[in-house]
């Protein structure tokens, strides 16, 4: 049996989680400081990929990155294209995983007592350092939870990936795609193996999250001796 879907899935999920982490935490930081009138609209737009059907996300990405799309034209002027390539699997997974990262990190940032930040300001700590030395450590449990959720979502991505990256074995075929096409061609036994593998990975992720959360004590800090 070809093991390539496992490696493609893991490679995609890790890359997408990494990107979603950077983008999600940055967006959460910007939004937590933003008090403008557009807040709920912006928040809605950022959450949208989570609520839309993945095929709709895939369709929109296809328009964006397609031959005539704005990003597609930009990329083709640089002599490259992402559609039906491995990058497309990463883009699709990143987009659907992003809202989970963003929303969890935003919740964690908003939980940080604003008095803490004010206290740091009166102690002369520059704004940039306040973020890295106070906000991030205090929001850390939430950020980690968001990362794990984003990873799980990226790993399970199917609809948008199929739309944007297609099903090319050895190149863009992730485990969820492999399962679908194996079942479709009547190879249920092989599909069952992949089902077990993906259940194992997902379960391990969730159990890991559970243990990690239990070890955490409120608001950072180390457990008492």
């Amino acid at each position: 049996m070809d093991a390539s879907p496992l490696w493609i899935s893991l490679k995609t999920a890790f890359s997408a989680t990494f990107l979603a982490f950077i983008l999600g935490v940055s967006a959460a930081k910007l939004m937590s400081g933003y008090r403008g009138r557009l807040k709920s609209i912006l928040d809605g737009v950022l959450i949208l990929p989570l609520v839309l059907p993945p095929t709709v996300v895939g369709f929109l990405l296809l328009i964006l990155f397609g031959k005539h799309g704005p990003l597609g034209q930009l990329l083709s002027s640089l002599g490259t294209t992402v559609i039906f390539s491995w990058s497309a699997t990463v883009i699709a997974s990143t987009v659907v995983a992003f809202p989970l990262m963003y929303r969890t990190a935003l919740g964690a940032f908003e939980q940080v007592d604003p008095n803490m930040l004010d206290a740091a300001r009166t102690l002369g700590v520059p704004e940039r350092s306040i973020f890295t030395r106070i906000t991030i450590p205090l929001a850390w449990p939430g950020i980690v939870a968001g990362t794990i959720l984003a990873f799980a979502r990226a790993l399970g991505e199917f609809g948008a990936t199929l739309m944007l990256a297609g099903n090319i074995p050895g190149k863009t075929q992730t485990i969820p795609l492999a399962i679908f096409f194996l079942v479709e061609s009547g190879q249920r036994d092989k599909a069952a193996v992949w089902v077990l593998i993906i259940i194992a990975i997902s379960l391990a992720t969730i159990v890991g999250l559970h243990f990690w959360t239990k070890r955490q004590i409120p608001a950072g800090g180390r457990p008492e001796k």
């Binding site: 803490m116 206290a119 009166t122 950072g220």
Partner: protein
């Protein structure tokens, strides 16, 4: 160094208008919650931005709306003690105190932190986290963290509200010593009038965003300039009056006439007041301002008894209660004779008039 504040801040439904100066002593900001005390502190620290006005510290301008100056809190050198202390829960005691000393050489920083820790008597607790400390210890960490930067002004926002009574008086003593040794101005916010009286030689009373009284604590407590101030300073006996001749007023809410000393006479005053501690059961030699009263209610506390009384023959709803506080022993003596009625005396020198 003089802290001079003259600011206005407009919010929907609330306007803050505060103006005061404070030398190298402690100024108490007293007022009920929502009166603008904390907002004033936040404006001084640079955490809130006033709509208009000026804040100066000696020759340094911290804020000046006309000149477009608004120093960030990081550059103001203003220490802030938060109501809940706002200690960083992910850092140890030493880490909390060292937060403001970043960029300093490691050895020098450790030495300063160590000195500060022994100054606030936290030796041996350097590596504890805030939640492993008692309320009093947490407050010491917060104080140490603010003082280690040698601020020019120290702002204290209801520092004792998170402590139980026993710790409260202990920490108050400690704070008093620290404030006496502190070489800058300090502004102390509280709604507890006794705390304010004990810690602050000068007081500023805020109501609804406005300064309604300011001055030495003795003046404010003994001769409050207006009715609201009298209420905030805890005066429970206040009556509308009609001023008659010969230093006499008619207390309309108590249905009696009162003599006032010439010193306390105030042209155009509309209220008279007297502290519940200053009304006493009349003795044999009391002939002035004595009133026969019926006792309506007796509230016994561990150290005193508060009586609610009304002049006899006038126990109608239009007449307000007079409250007097006496010692438990005195109450026992009175109750043995007659627990229903009492002749009280309002010493003329203790009755004040106000607007």
């Amino acid at each position: 160094m003089v802290l001079a504040v003259d600011i206005e801040r407009d919010l929907p439904g609330f306007q803050l208008r505060v103006s005061f100066t404070c030398g190298e002593s402690t100024l108490g900001l007293l007022g009920s919650s929502g009166s603008g005390k904390s907002m004033t502190l936040r404006c001084i620290a640079g955490l809130d931005r006033p709509t208009r006005g000026r804040i100066t510290l000696g020759k340094r301008v911290l804020f000046d709306s006309a000149a477009g100056i608004n120093l960030p809190p990081q550059q103001r050198r203003v220490g802030f003690l938060f109501q809940n202390y706002a200690l960083f829960p992910h850092l140890t005691v030493a880490g909390n105190i060292a937060m403001g000393l970043r960029g300093m050489e490691r050895q020098k920083r450790e030495k300063i932190v160590k000195e500060m820790i022994s100054r606030v008597k936290l030796d041996g607790l350097e590596n504890r986290y805030p939640r492993q400390l008692s309320g009093g210890q947490q407050q010491r960490v917060a104080l140490a963290r603010a003082l280690v930067l040698q601020p020019e002004v120290l702002l204290l926002d209801e520092p004792f509200s998170a402590l139980d009574n026993h710790l409260r008086s202990e920490m108050e003593q400690e704070l008093k010593v620290l404030l006496n040794n502190f070489s800058g101005s300090s502004v102390f916010v509280t709604h507890n009038l006794e705390e304010a009286y004990r810690l602050c030689p000068n007081l500023l009373i805020l109501e609804d965003g406005k300064v309604i009284a300011s001055g030495s604590r003795e003046d404010i407590f003994n001769k409050p300039p207006n009715l609201s101030t009298a209420r905030i300073t805890g005066c429970q006996n206040l009556s509308k009056i009609r001023v008659l001749q010969d230093n006499t007023v008619e207390a309309l809410d108590w249905g009696c006439f009162l003599r006032i000393t010439a010193d306390n006479m105030l042209e155009g005053a509309s209220y008279a007041g007297i502290s519940s501690r200053h009304i006493r059961p009349a003795g044999k030699d009391d002939h002035v301002n004595t009133v026969h009263c019926r006792i309506f209610d007796v509230i016994e506390s561990p150290h005193q008894v508060t009586l609610s009384v009304k002049p006899t023959g006038r126990e109608t709803n239009n007449i307000s209660f007079l409250k007097l506080s006496i010692s438990n022993e005195e109450w026992r003596r009175i109750a043995l004779q007659n627990p229903e009625e009492l002749k009280i005396c309002l010493p003329p020198e203790r009755v004040f008039l106000t607007f």
